[in-house]
Symmetry: C2
């Protein structure tokens, strides 16, 4: 392979469809999209921007479920094949062992990252109704222990790296403001203990038109011999609002705030009906990727139009080759 996957696991049962004949794209959609419909649990207005990971002999996940009062909630779910999901009808009730940790007010856009011995959940949490990065961990996707928020408001899209790097836990995030933020760069922060964070580094700013308003990390980065492969969303502001697409970037393995190679164009933009039509038109928003370390296959879960959840596929080799051929090497 162009970039051997490091630290990954064999995942022969990864959701997968071969690339359609004649397809010139680097990413291709699952033919039966969306895989999770907006009403897959009774209380739901919509289920999108959600995270799935290998778990046991199947998969588990944390799902953004907006209810019919439009409260933003997190629900756990399980699947044998990564395509058909059993999402819990009740929201996650986080265990808080410290009364200073604020009770859950809302949560959205979760990511799940397995580190060492447990699954860490990061999400956009409310601190006095101001968004910042909430954190919790679970061993079984039944009991979730909420820990300290990583950062001060205002922040969104907190995405952890799956191992310590140079002795530090690391998290990407997108500092924001209190509303539908019209700016946003990706930053990296470091922590010795997952409670206190510092040594903040700037990673990348919006650059091309498709991402000119703001960018944010998507799924947990995939470690390859050549660097950390990160899918990230970018936003263009049209005359009728934000348009969310996504692309990929390769980050340095030891100093992952350094960009090695960056996509010049988006890899996927909202073009299908289920991506263009819904509560928020024209949004594709990746929050999780499964990877098979043997074949380099990648299955990306992405939210569609803030309404439902879909799958698309690619391989590590395909993305790295694309970055090599058409990507940008920063100064």
């Amino acid at each position: 392979m162009n970039g051997k996957i490091i630290g990954g696991t064999s995942l022969p049962h990864i959701p997968w469809q071969d690339k359609p004949a004649g397809c010139r794209d680097v990413l291709w959609r699952y033919t039966e999209n969306p895989v999770i419909r907006r009403d897959a649990v009774p209380c739901a207005n919509s289920i999108f921007n959600s995270a799935a990971v290998p778990f046991g002999d199947g998969f588990a996940g944390v799902f953004r479920v907006d209810d019919r009062a439009r409260n933003m909630q997190l629900h756990a779910g399980f699947s044998k094949d990564g395509i058909h999901w059993d999402i819990q009808p009740e929201r996650i009730e986080f265990v808080r062992n410290d009364p200073e940790i604020q009770p859950f007010q809302y949560g959205y856009d979760p990511r799940v990252c397995f580190i060492e011995d447990r699954y860490y959940v990061t999400w956009c949490n409310a601190l006095d109704w101001k968004p910042t990065i909430g954190m919790a961990y679970t061993f079984d996707f039944r009991t979730f222990y909420q820990t300290e928020n990583a950062f001060l408001p205002f922040n969104r899209n907190g995405v952890m790296f799956p191992r310590k790097i140079n002795g530090m836990y690391m998290m990407l995030s997108r500092p924001s403001d209190s509303g539908h933020t019209p700016f946003g760069d990706i930053f990296l922060s470091q922590s010795p203990d997952l409670t206190f964070w510092g040594k903040h580094r700037h990673v990348m700013s919006p650059q091309a038109p498709w991402e000119s308003t703001k960018i944010g990390a998507g799924p947990v980065p995939i470690e390859t011999e050549r660097g950390w492969l990160l899918f990230y969303h970018g936003v263009l502001t049209s005359c009728n609002g934000f348009v969310y697409s996504f692309s990929a970037v390769l980050l340095d393995r030891d100093e992952p705030w350094k960009v090695l190679r960056r996509g010049r164009e988006y890899l996927l933009s909202p073009q299908r009906d289920y991506e263009c039509v819904g509560d928020v038109p024209n949004v594709v928003f990746p929050c999780a990727a499964l990877t098979d370390a043997d074949t380099g296959r990648i299955a990306i879960y992405y939210g569609c139009a803030d309404t439902c959840t879909s799958l698309c596929f690619t391989t590590v080799d395909d993305v790295l080759a694309w970055l090599d051929e058409s990507g940008i090497a920063p100064r």
Copy 2:
């Protein structure tokens, strides 16, 4: 005294004028204001929002000096009496022993806090031209060692507490956005080592009309038997822009994110010519307070109209009595 000062030092040479006969205000201005004029160093367009502390047998400080290209710079300065200042004509060149710490781009609104054995400077620093809380320390106000930024962007008004509390260094700050932020609460963050920060707590939100747009910590909090006395600025948005005033609040000594008593009104608002007229009309902005532990006298340095620097006076007893009589006890 109503609230005995804890951990303070005798400061018999504190700048001081007695309260004028007939004055009904809790704070009163120095009659010779402004004490630092806009052109007190040759390169300056303006000198304001600056910090002074006791140093040797006199005083030292870090000053916001905007130059005539309107670059925002920090300059050190010295004074025998706290009123007549010798401000260095050249800006502070921070020593950076770690190349990952970004070179100085701009800095403004410094605070200086003596902790343990040295003077810490916090200020609004640029990280890739985005504002956040920069940090440095000095022993002599000649050499300044820059350390890691405390937080991710976007943040302003980082103000340290002068000692560890429950084993933690603590800092107040005002998370913001990328521009002339139209919102802002005071938060508190904790650190075991001044590099990594966490356990963020919400302290207070805007409440009264005079502060309805945003609030931020001012000088380093003054420890009294009854709690931490904090002066803080608040902003009202008029039809012609922001109006900065300031007031006081008493915070819990052990859990200083808990408000004990809060001013219902401002203590000082822009009313004199030098506060109303200048580069930014209608701004009084406190960044430092000297305190005499023997008498409870307080001398506050405050920026005026983003142009010059003035002094006003009060006592710990006066402010605590005012908070007792007319302040708000939060729920």
